[in-house]
Amino acid sequence: MANMRRLGAFAAFTTSAALLLAACSSGDGETTDPTDSPTNGEAEQSAEPVTLTWWHNAVAGDNGENALGDYWQTVADAYTAENPHVTIEIEQVQNEDLQRTRIPLALQSGDAPDLFQAWGGGELASQVESGYVQDLSETLADDIERLGGGVSPWQHEGSTYGLPFTFGVEGIWYRESLFEEAGITEEPATMDELNAAVQALKDADITPIAVGAADGWPAAHWWYNFALRSCSQDVMAAAGVDRDFSDPCWVQAGEQLEEFLGTEPFQDQFISTVAQTGATSSAGLVASGDAAMELMGQWNVFVYEGFTDGTDEGIAALQDDLGWFPMPATDGGNGDPSAALGGGDGFSCYVDAPPECADFLSFIVSDANQMEFTEATGALPVAPAAADAVTNPVLVELAQVAGNAEYVQLWLDTSFGTNVGGAMNDGIVSIFAGTGEAQDVVDLMTAAALTE
């Protein structure tokens, strides 16, 4: 009898489950119907409801603040207010998870977000070759022209596959008070002056430069800058396309790095230091005044702010004491001394995304919104018309250096793509650790390029 009762309960469960399933599927039918139809190309005329999915990397920092994420929400709200038939579903994902795992898997599965973060360079080229991203060259021709040269990392073989919303160059951040303490009066403009500054800081018992070599890329950026000074623009550009590293300038970059490491400019155990996490990271050391300098991109002002107590006074005090100068020129070498390394963030549209995706992307990078973006987040915009909105004095200087640069080279690892870029960074870290040589970096890159 007990068995019978259990069986009855089981039957009741299956019946209710079946009803539930039926309810779900009919519900699905109602919601998927309208979102499907716009992809058939009738969206704008009929203004039928469209849902855009949007994946970006603005997540809350350690202190729970998420200025950029909040700003993206207001942009989405503003767009949907103007276009009531559009619903925007935002997903915020941590940068490395988004770039290395979520986006590649979503693209391969064929169920990708409509609008997603794109870093440009070799990675975007790989996505383009796979047919994953929309060619925006014609639809957004006006925006591409308005934004200017900053768009080039999001272009591949003459076509544009994404638009940046922020772009900046890197240089050396420093604490003015520590420079003063060491008796340094001028920002170093040559390697000799930088070496002299390092010695002066050491004499004053101050750690000259912090580097987060445990993360790999922060150490690699030193090599990139030496490469930028020793390789001509043509060699650089050619390497980005055909992955040819036979020019001796690539080995020279490593030799310059070895020579620089020989002056012991970095903090103790830099190979064990990470870049951004915790008070003992390289950014933490500079923010707390334990180290004087750090080579980093434009974003680092926000990383430093994260180490203050978060009050307006705390941030103002830090900004007051924060200086910036471009990477010094080296002796010899075929590179232009004014050339700068840089990078940015942008968005691309999935190949099957509805036409609203490109329209929304155009809205994101409009002059008015770029201005608001800068006011809301303090970050550097791409639209020249929004340049006046930058208030942070260091970022103003940084934007000027970028504007006056002979050319701006995209981060080499981004430019060469994950495979060659990863091999390059591994080789450079070995130089920092003292286990590798200048030639190794070139060999590792060449070997990786041969496997592609």
Binding site: S126, Q269, I271, S272, V429, A433, T435, A447, L450, T451
Partner: protein, 350 residues
């Protein structure tokens, strides 16, 4: 229905057809029908084994076959597999010997074979050190703890705690403790043990030993608990008899306890070897196998190449090589070392 009813009422080993045919109390007269009995047996096998087998096929066998296939291709794993190019066993020769082309052999050796053999060497060192260091330490602690004393269960709990701790939590904890400005580093410096030039974890030479220390800290608890369980199965009369005959504590351990927990030790060693070959999480959490690969393993190398550098074919080849290593180690160990135990058990059963 009948199958469910029968198994529910618990008529002995339902899958053992011989038993019911031989006439252990049948539930219904129908069970006498041998054909129906066989059908029921198969139905039960399908119902009970089917779902697990299906999961096994979908999530273990199928991915293995796919990995074997991918390993024969040049494939940027961000791109659809249709764009991949068949290259035969090139990925394998690249890992094992730097490829076959004499022109590129030198740089391929440096870029691929050297990191691979470095990782294999680290795996091998960890296996050897587990046997030489972890085994004796765990054995001594287990023998010392194998008696009644106040607070025994708390001590056991403390010893076992690292093993239960999540690998990621433990890894992050050690990262913070061993940071160049971390508490452990400063405490050690205070008693005169200064950290190596590159820091405890990232120093090209010392990093491996720090890593081995952390792994031992994490896993020695399992060995101790297993040995204690084995020791609790040793009949106390034997130890008492030996004591009465005048054997010292050491003699009792050496001649009675250790030989009698031999099977447990051999099973632990087996688990330890397979675990060492597949070691991944801790090395990855600490810093992806180390900034110069000082504690990289085949698994961290594989994940690094596959997910960070998107060389899907080469990473798949590493996966297959690791699988072969594990299988060869398992089969060799089974046939040479554990044959005794299995043979003994089979003998008893017969």
């Amino acid at each position: 229905m009948t199958a469910l009813e029968a198994s529910g009422t618990g008529t002995g080993p339902a899958t053992d057809a011989k038993a019911s045919v031989a006439g252990s109390t049948p539930v219904t007269p129908a069970a006498y029908n041998p054909r129906r009995d066989r059908r029921r047996k198969w139905l039960e096998i399908v119902i009970f084994v089917g779902p697990a087998l299906l999961l096994f096929l979908v999530f273990v066998i199928f991915p293995m076959i796919m990995a074997a296939r991918y390993s024969l291709y040049k494939w940027d794993s961000r791109q659809p597999f249709e764009l991949a190019e068949f290259i035969g066993f090139d990925n394998y020769t690249r890992a094992l010997m730097g490829g076959t082309d004499p022109e590129t052999k030198e740089i391929f050796w440096k870029a691929y074979a050297q990191p691979f053999w470095n990782a294999v060497g680290n795996n091998a060192q960890i296996i050897a050190l587990s046997m030489l260091v972890q085994l004796p330490i765990a054995m001594i602690i287990a023998l010392v703890l194998n008696r009644k004393f106040p607070g025994r269960s708390s001590v056991r709990l403390i010893i076992f705690a690292p093993y239960v701790l999540s690998e990621v939590v433990a890894g992050l904890m050690w990262l913070m403790l061993l940071d160049p400005r971390g508490p452990v580093t400063e405490m050690l410096a205070a008693i005169g043990i200064s950290d190596p030039a590159g820091g405890w974890l990232e120093d090209p030479q010392a990093g491996f030993w720090t890593f081995f220390f952390i792994v031992s800290w994490k896993y020695i608890g399992l060995a101790i608990i297993l040995f204690l369980a084995g020791l609790s199965g040793v009949p106390p009369e034997l130890q008492e008899a030996a004591s009465i005959d005048g054997a010292s504590w050491w003699q009792v351990q050496w001649r009675i306890n250790i030989p009698l927990i031999g099977p447990t030790v051999r099973v632990w060693a087996f688990l330890s070897i397979i675990g060492s070959i597949q070691l991944f999480d801790m090395a990855w959490v600490l810093n992806k196998g180390g900034s110069t690969g000082q504690y990289s393993t085949i698994a961290t190398l594989m994940v690094d190449i596959g997910t960070q550098r998107n060389d899907g074919g080469y990473a798949s080849a590493l996966a297959i090589i690791m699988f072969i290593f594990s299988m060869v180690a398992a089969i060799t160990y089974m046939t040479i070392v554990m044959r005794r135990d299995n043979g003994a058990r089979a003998g008893k059963g017969a």
